[in-house]
Assembly symmetry: C2
Homo-oligomer: 451 residues x 2
Amino acid sequence: MAEQIEFDQAHQALQEVSEALENGRFVHVRRQLQDMEPEDIAHLLEASPRKSRDVLWQLTDPEDYGEILDELNEDVKDALVSKMEPEVLAEATEGMDTDDVAYVLRSLPDDVSREVLSQMDISDRLRVETALSYPEDSAGGLMNTDVITIRGDVDVDVVLRYLRIKGELPEATDALYVINEDSQLIGQLPITTLITTQPDVKVSDVMADADEAIEVTMSDSDIASLFERRNWVSAPVINEHQHLVGRITIDDVVDVIREDAEHSMMSMAGMDDDEDTFAPVFKSARKRSIWLGANVLAALAAASVSNMFEATLEQMAAIAVLMTIVPSMGGVAGNQTVALVIRGLALGHIGDANKRELLAKEAAIGLVNGIMWALIIGGIVVAWKGNWMLGGIISAAMLTNLLVAGIAGVTIPILLKKMKIDPALAGGMALTTVTDVIGLSVFLGLATFMI
Amino acid sequence: MAEQIEFDQAHQALQEVSEALENGRFVHVRRQLQDMEPEDIAHLLEASPRKSRDVLWQLTDPEDYGEILDELNEDVKDALVSKMEPEVLAEATEGMDTDDVAYVLRSLPDDVSREVLSQMDISDRLRVETALSYPEDSAGGLMNTDVITIRGDVDVDVVLRYLRIKGELPEATDALYVINEDSQLIGQLPITTLITTQPDVKVSDVMADADEAIEVTMSDSDIASLFERRNWVSAPVINEHQHLVGRITIDDVVDVIREDAEHSMMSMAGMDDDEDTFAPVFKSARKRSIWLGANVLAALAAASVSNMFEATLEQMAAIAVLMTIVPSMGGVAGNQTVALVIRGLALGHIGDANKRELLAKEAAIGLVNGIMWALIIGGIVVAWKGNWMLGGIISAAMLTNLLVAGIAGVTIPILLKKMKIDPALAGGMALTTVTDVIGLSVFLGLATFMI
């Protein structure tokens, strides 16, 4: 009878384990950990404060280390690995995918990673060294080398017998790769074709084309888009000579998709997307300070603008009271556009062919919302301060700033991307600086001129 | 010989097609569309301005409509479907997955969707009606009903012969489901096991447990977490009587992951994540206005605070010039924390067991960064305005506000989640309101008191 998976299990385990740890019931925790799947232990580690994390790691069966490391997020993985002995680490790599071993080794000091490599057996070492020779965020860095290859001139029956002798297939195997005598990829035999074809048919007669292979240099984001669009489960990787060099599976691609999406979200808030939820205070403070430093410049730019109008501010304090409203609305409206454009750029929806349409559309939205909010806020100000002039000034500034926000919201991310600066990281801050400066200048400038 | 996939193809196609459309070369475009895969046409449609989109849709072979609709984002899909005749739509559904047909029908007026249903053949209609009976964001709404079931008491050989007669397997089939005489799921036979097992072995002797089945009521986000952690390619769905009712595949789960991630990113900027890049101006303006309206309240709250200190502002314009700096830094620092907490909540890393540690850690980061930026900005203000008192006031306000930002950044999203309000949507705005109000109050309050 099928049991349901209780999704709250993980939370419960976290609660139980942390209580047991607090009470020093280590034997109990060790027993609980033995009953858990590696991926659930990984989740538990990520959700644990740093101190309990180290204790938990000590209580975990070292045989599971490899599979757990496979599943951990980068910051947490780095922290645990940095405390492991090279021999233990070398042993752990036996349970890990090639790409993940390469990832771990990249994050270690050179001498430690050389030591770990020297402890691995030859065939594993060669695989890992191959992976290390490609950039981490390319197909070469993402692929595994556990491919099953067959020849095209054999019968389906022969393939089936060969697989029965092999006895086990690598995870997420949905196709066998057909190569020629030069190890070049010439086709794929989907497993589903294999089992629905009569035994006496030749592989080359039923195999699919090899035109869906991934170049070993392709970037991981492009690979993710391809998998998403084609609904692939796995895909072969070839080098510039069409030699089959590995295979990428959907589980690694899902990680890339998740990481890319997290990257956008976290960058937009000025956060490093690797930041562990329980990172050490000083490390986090230092990382986040960079962004606060950028914001100091933006805030000082805005203050310099108001400073130019000190005389006006002195004359009428109501202007100082109201001057934050226009920049605030411009920042919110502009960031809406920035978010839309960043998503569009990431999905490949925005290019030279349509950016003018997009600009026109966002400017029009800025105008529509500008008119609406100019009227509403102008009205509020007239009612509040009983000053028609002030209402008119804030309305004009609001309209101008929302129009500017729409235009800047499209152009800033596109320009940043052209300049090879990540628009998710710098877009929001640049936009806010523009809308702050323009919003304040127009509002205070008009006020100075009119009053 | 394997050809490489050119990732820029899509962009090139977009450029070419839009040029051809502009020049009215429709025959050329129609020919190009015929050479493209449905998923690439979907991408092209999403990247096209609305006017060209309708023309492209007319030029597309109606035979591909179903598969293209399968791949389109929701806003674009809705727009195209709303213009299709029920008969054309009924025909298109033949090429679509059950869950996607159900999605499309949900977005149509009741009478149209009834009309479409009546045009479908009986077995398709029954499947779609089943899917319609479950919530859209549950396993029932996400699953397909194209499962292959076998009995446990037959030999592997019999299964292989059965599959050869069937001739074709549903997409992403990586396991056959073993059921008993009551249609209850009792096990799974992974395809890889099937082909590596000797022909005379009984299915029940090699099948895997059925304990990894998904309850039909499970939410799509929980399903996505499970797939991600277990590295599944597909999973069976069962109802409360353990009856097998369908199957969820990784490609649909990838869409959920992408949508959830986009949702967080877009919501944080106050955007509807369904908003099509080329949505109509008035529709977008209306949707975005809701958020701008919320921000008006936040901005007015801040203005009311400054209004209470009008006398102080009147006395010293430098205070008005400097008063935006403290709220701005608090907003940025607080939103860093909010982003971290939203991600942690989404990944299930934050719960009752560890929220106190998190609060302590973020408060500590607020304190560390608060001290640092208090000193730096205090120094800048002393140098700029030559006023030690003003430097001291802004330092004290900065320190307080960054500490508040850290604490509010943790508590606000957690509280919102408890209140069943999406923290990604409301967290940033609520945080900014708090840091604006506290930042202004402390800075202006101290200034009033001291000067």
